[in-house]
């Protein structure tokens, strides 16, 4: 039976192998490093995605307005970087508020899941 971690490990290995073959053709570090580095960057993703026991603890949200606020704040910050720092500052404030409420929401959800 194939396991999820085998898929991720296989993918990472394939990228490393391709990177090493590229190294034989092209010694520039950043070129083959793109492949090898991407493979190494998979490790934290794999760890987060395949956390054991996550499934049993899951409680599912119907709605999440703070999530929308956080996303909108990121949009404001990005727009602010182009049109003016004042807008980025407003975005940062909205982001702080959104994150605060989002954390409260996550805690409430975790409590609901336990009960």
């Amino acid at each position: 039976m194939i396991r999820p971690r085998t898929v991720l490990a296989g993918w990472g290995t394939a990228l490393v192998v391709l990177g090493l073959i590229l190294l034989a053709f092209e010694p520039t570090e950043y070129v083959w490093g793109l492949l090898v580095g991407s493979a190494l960057a998979l490790a934290p993703f794999g760890a987060i995605m395949l956390l054991p026991g996550r499934r049993e603890e899951r409680a599912l949200p119907d709605m999440s307005l703070p999530t929308v606020v956080v996303a909108a704040a990121l949009g404001l910050i990005a727009l602010g970087l182009a049109v003016g720092v004042w807008l980025a500052a407003v975005g940062a404030e909205v982001l702080a508020v959104g994150l605060f409420v989002l954390i409260r929401e996550l805690r409430a959800q975790r409590r609901a899941g336990r009960s």
Binding site: W11, V31, S38, A39, L60, P61, M63, S64, T67, A112
Partner: protein
């Protein structure tokens, strides 16, 4: 906000009623249901599709005759930049991942997607990115105008100044970040939230296609986000790419995203077409395990071909990238073989989804075959940056991926809405689109081979390009009519609803075992026994055998 208990068995889950989208303004904005998020991505993607398509019509109208008639050269630069980047960052990638977000949890028997909030955040970040990109048109110096795949130093502040260009860069960062988050959710769902009995090698072909897609997403998308961030730093804070080798570094970083994203925009539609072909051939998908291996091999190889876009720079080792690019023929051939072999001996039903699937298979072949040409350095030197390349990627992305998207849309529309799209309008849509696509894009191969450069709105009458450009423009307008027919079909089908039941096509995977549209946590009753990648087909075969046994026993 309210939280529902985790349905260890999905039957235990509460539902919020059978609607494609939750009602009420708050629900429309903040519902975390993966299906609602996916429908919203598809709806917003459709709006950007229309907007980016209209830009293409203006471009094609300008190109219909030699010289400049409608727009200035600067405006033309904005048009092709926003058309290309709109279609890639805001339309086809989101369409592909929206399909995954909706159907992967259903196909693996999960009650929800992994981290619904992350997917919701991804959607809104993508919307913000798209709006910021398009808002560049409102600035005094215009929108982004260095192409969807900009080169350095053209994209540097000195050569392309203005807030609109910055908005393009920042908008791309957000749009790609949004889809990156959605990709994480889809991959993690397939890997970690499968129902009991749903082993990895029992996942349907579509889900495997999304696994391969999302592996590329999580590997390549962060590189573009980083590269665009460095570009913005370069434009306003201190030079990053202006040193010796800097322009090549920029191109490496860009194409490390830019080529895999072509497959991100292709694989989900191959998976969808595999589902359509097996369902409408009334057969089990042929060569399932080989298909899975070929998908993963294809994805891995596609991560190593990026610099074939840089053959003419003289800064890369052409042999390696040509070798890996040609190696893609092997997994692509396996996939084609599987799709065709599934049809052979099947009882083929030529409904609209199947027509689009066959259109996808035939037309993408032209895109793939011309891809072999541009993967060969000697020929690429001739056609690089010409209309040949434009023809090639429109055959892959439009004649291929968009046809695959429509196959998926007609196939799964009854599942998402509970009603089917009109068959007559669907067939009209298909034939108009086939005609328009080939009339619009095939002449581009000849134009490119004859030396017409891409990204130029003004060409002299003496070049002899006028006639083929006129033909191509007529084709573009036929495509526009075809899309109009699709929009009318959507409107009519949703307005005058004809319910079609939970499984109108005789589907094979788990999404057809639930109601249409599916309830809040996807499944109300017990899931069917999962014994293969086609559990509903297994069930039908078992009941067919049981029925045959009963008849045999009852016979005198």
């Amino acid at each position: 906000m309210s939280a529902a208990p985790p349905p260890a068995d999905a039957a235990a889950a509460a539902t919020i009623g059978a609607k494609a989208l939750p009602s009420g303004p708050l629900g429309l904005v903040a519902s975390a249901d993966h299906k609602a998020t996916a429908v919203r991505i598809a709806a917003v993607g459709l709006i950007f599709f229309i907007a980016s398509g209209l830009l293409a019509l203006v471009m094609r109208t300008e190109l219909a005759q030699p010289g400049l008639q409608m727009v200035s050269e600067g405006t033309y630069n904005e048009l092709f930049t926003m058309h290309g980047s709109g279609m890639i960052y805001l339309v086809i990638t989101p369409f592909a991942l929206a399909l995954g977000l909706y159907f992967v949890p259903l196909q693996v028997g999960a009650a929800e997607v992994w981290s619904p909030r992350l997917a919701l955040a991804g959607f809104w970040i993508y919307v913000a990115g798209g709006l910021i990109m398009y808002s560049g048109f409102l600035t005094s110096q215009g929108s982004g105008r260095a192409g969807w795949a900009p080169t350095y130093p053209l994209v540097a502040d000195h050569w392309t100044p203005g807030i609109g260009m910055d908005m393009w860069v920042l908008g791309v960062i957000l749009a790609v970040l949004g889809m990156f988050l959605v990709g994480i959710c889809v991959l993690a769902t397939a890997l970690s939230l499968r129902a009991p009995g749903m082993t990895l090698l029992r996942m349907p072909p579509f889900t495997w296609a999304l696994v391969a897609t999302c592996l590329m997403v999580i590997t390549s998308f962060p590189v573009l986000i980083g590269a665009m961030g460095m570009l913005e730093w370069d434009r306003h804070i201190s030079p990053v790419f202006s040193s010796s080798g800097g322009p090549a570094l920029w191109q490496h970083l860009f194409w490390f995203y830019g080529h895999p994203v072509v497959y991100v925009m292709f694989f989900p539609f191959v998976g969808a077409v595999a589902e359509v072909v097996s369902t409408f051939s009334r057969r089990r998908f042929f060569g399932y395990r080989l298909f899975v291996v070929s998908m993963l091999l294809f994805a891995a190889l596609s991560m190593s071909v990026w610099a074939h876009h840089m053959f003419t720079t003289g800064q890369v080792t052409n042999q390696y990238y040509s070798l890996t690019s040609h190696a893609l023929i092997l997994p692509a051939g396996i996939e084609y073989f599987d799709l065709i072999a599934t049809m052979i001996g099947g009882s083929i039903l030529l409904r609209t989804p199947m027509l689009f699937a066959i259109g996808f298979i035939l037309q993408f072949f032209i895109g793939g075959a011309t891809g072999i040409i541009v993967a060969s350095p000697p020929i690429d030197y001739h056609v690089h940056d010409s209309f040949f390349v434009v023809g090639h990627f429109h055959y892959t992305l439009f004649a291929g991926s968009v046809f695959g998207f429509f196959a998926a849309a007609y196939f799964w529309f009854p599942k998402v809405t509970g009603v089917s799209l009109r068959e007559g309008l669907g067939k009209l849509h298909f034939w108009l689109l086939v005609i328009g696509t080939n009339v619009a894009f095939f002449p581009m191969f000849f134009l490119g081979f004859d030396g017409m450069q891409r990204r130029i709105g003004n060409y002299p009458a003496s070049s002899g390009f006028g006639d083929l450009n006129l033909v191509s423009t007529i084709g573009a307008f036929v495509i526009a009519v075809a899309i109009l027919v699709f929009l009318v079909n959507l409107f009519v089908s949703l307005r005058r609803r004809r319910p079609v039941g939970d499984d109108p096509w005789g589907g094979q995977s788990l999404e057809w075992a639930t109601s249409s549209p599916p309830p809040r946590f996807n499944f109300r009753g017990r899931l069917p026994e999962i014994t293969s990648f086609a559990p509903l087909l297994d069930r039908r075969e078992r009941s067919g055998e049981a029925g045959a046994r009963r008849e045999a026993e009852a016979a005198p």
